[in-house]
Symmetry: C2
Subunit: 290 residues, 2 copies
């Protein structure tokens, strides 16, 4: 167990071996900015209107796969919450700690470099486990969920949010745009992940032993009436995922450079004029057995 | 203008020329049953939780494309509502009238055989226009919306609900299942419709001159926790659409008979065990300019 303290004993650049391969989106500054934009734009979708176990996430909370702390800020907005945030990337943890320096100094959040499938915490240590866009990158998401269940107290809560690339609806439609999305999904699969995990969240969570499993679709609908979502999500979050994955997508051989350019143009076009863009995230909430 | 009275002056079998070709799902008794199951299962999605112009649909209401009256019953559940229900199919109207005999006798609903793009009503005659799964079958949905705007009073409300076949997420995934869906969409397109209309509802409604356009995704999530949706929607509504379209789908030449069988099995499999099924409808609400 390695706690990243507020005093700077981190080692930027000391990524775990294979980390770049394991996280298809990469670890650059531009990616960190994308994650922040994404977290802010999606805050209402990720955190709002809980139909499942209800109420805000509170108590002692494990954030599994905190990355650069984009979602951590939304968790910390709840008074009295205490967060243990875990990630594999030391560089991401350093960014996260810098961004949440005050909460770190106050002891409201602690940063841990660890594997989310092999946690340095005792059984039943947490009231809630939160994981956002993490399971999609894991070769064994079910094993991670079982580990998260282990560290939850009886009756403790789970919130996981994941996307499903097949839920993307482009208007105007574009074959090249769909090919770029399919290529990125293939690259993610090669790295051990699953860009289509959203649809199987319910059986995954249930299969890991959770109870009261509720999966809610949370759809981004960006059109002329929502310029904030066009800018913040389509152009500021979604398209950059694919721009960042250009090399990996081309390496898959499903699209060539020219089609890749047309595909990015297809995606961008949905955020102009009478275009529309839809993408559905799935939020699962559940409880550990009592 | 032809009003179908409660006294039986209808002419079953006198479908307008080309009606069978124009309505890809056909007009059989089994289809009528499917539409009823669909309407009941989807009632909460179609009618519940209005985020847009809000409140229940009330006043003098035009139901554009009432079919066999499956949705009409849900409209009539609102006290004080008066419905003028329009459809091209005399046989469907006769079924609808039979089903809603009491409301018909009370004068709460009147049945009209007419084209939803050329309505036998004066300008500004209605407080609200409701259309469910109708625009998807029209070659010129924008023209229909303009006609609906014409018969709405200033500030009157619009509610339209449509699906988008590309929103279907199957788990386990199945290439044959997706091919069957794509084949049905192709057949619908050949008949002048658009099975992917959901994503472009916002620009269509706005383009017709409506204001305060809000489009809400309404997703059916059917998994082990929702046996009612598995039975009522996946097996009772969705699969039958494709079973009914078998001849048309095979005629498109995209799948052969063997793949069609495998495809139907793929769709059914999502309603068993750890399978999951998702489909998103889009509900648009809007107002006529004041």
């Amino acid at each position: 167990m390695e706690i990243i303290t507020p005093h700077g004993d981190t080692h930027p650049g000391s990524e775990p071996a294979g980390a770049r391969d394991g996280y298809v989106h990469g670890y650059g500054a531009r990616e960190a900015e994308r994650l922040t934009t994404q977290a802010d734009v999606l805050a209402a979708l990720v955190h709002g209107d809980r139909e499942g176990i209800g109420g805000p996430i509170t108590g002692r909370v494990l954030e599994a796969g905190c990355g650069t702390g984009a979602q951590t800020g939304h968790l910390l907005a709840t008074p009295g919450i205490r967060v243990d945030a875990v990630d594999l990337s030391t560089a991401s943890l350093a960014r996260a700690r810098g961004r949440h320096a005050a909460a770190t100094a106050e002891g409201r959040v602690r940063w841990h470099r660890a594997d989310v499938t092999d946690l340095p915490f005792p059984d039943a240590a947490f009231d809630h486990v939160f994981g956002c866009f993490v399971l999609e990158h894991l070769a064994e998401p079910g094993r991670a969920l079982a580990e998260w269940l282990r560290v939850l107290r009886p009756g403790g809560g789970l919130t996981v949010v994941e996307g499903d690339h097949d839920s993307t609806l482009l208007h105007p439609d574009g074959a090249a745009g769909r090919a770029v999305i399919a290529g990125q999904a293939r690259a993610q699969e090669r790295a051990g992940g699953d860009a289509f995990i959203g649809r199987r969240l319910a059986p995954l969570v249930r299969g890991a032993g959770f109870r009261e499993v509720v999966v809610e679709p949370r759809t981004v609908c960006a059109d002329r009436a929502r310029p904030d979502l066009r800018t913040g999500f389509v152009l500021g979050t979604f398209v950059p995922v694919f721009e960042a994955a250009r090399g990996d997508v081309l390496a898959e051989g499903m699209v060539d450079a020219a089609e890749w350019e047309r595909g990015i143009a297809d995606l961008r076009r949905t955020a102009t004029g009478d275009g529309t863009f839809h993408y559905t995230f799935f939020r699962a909430t559940a409880r550990a057995p009592r």
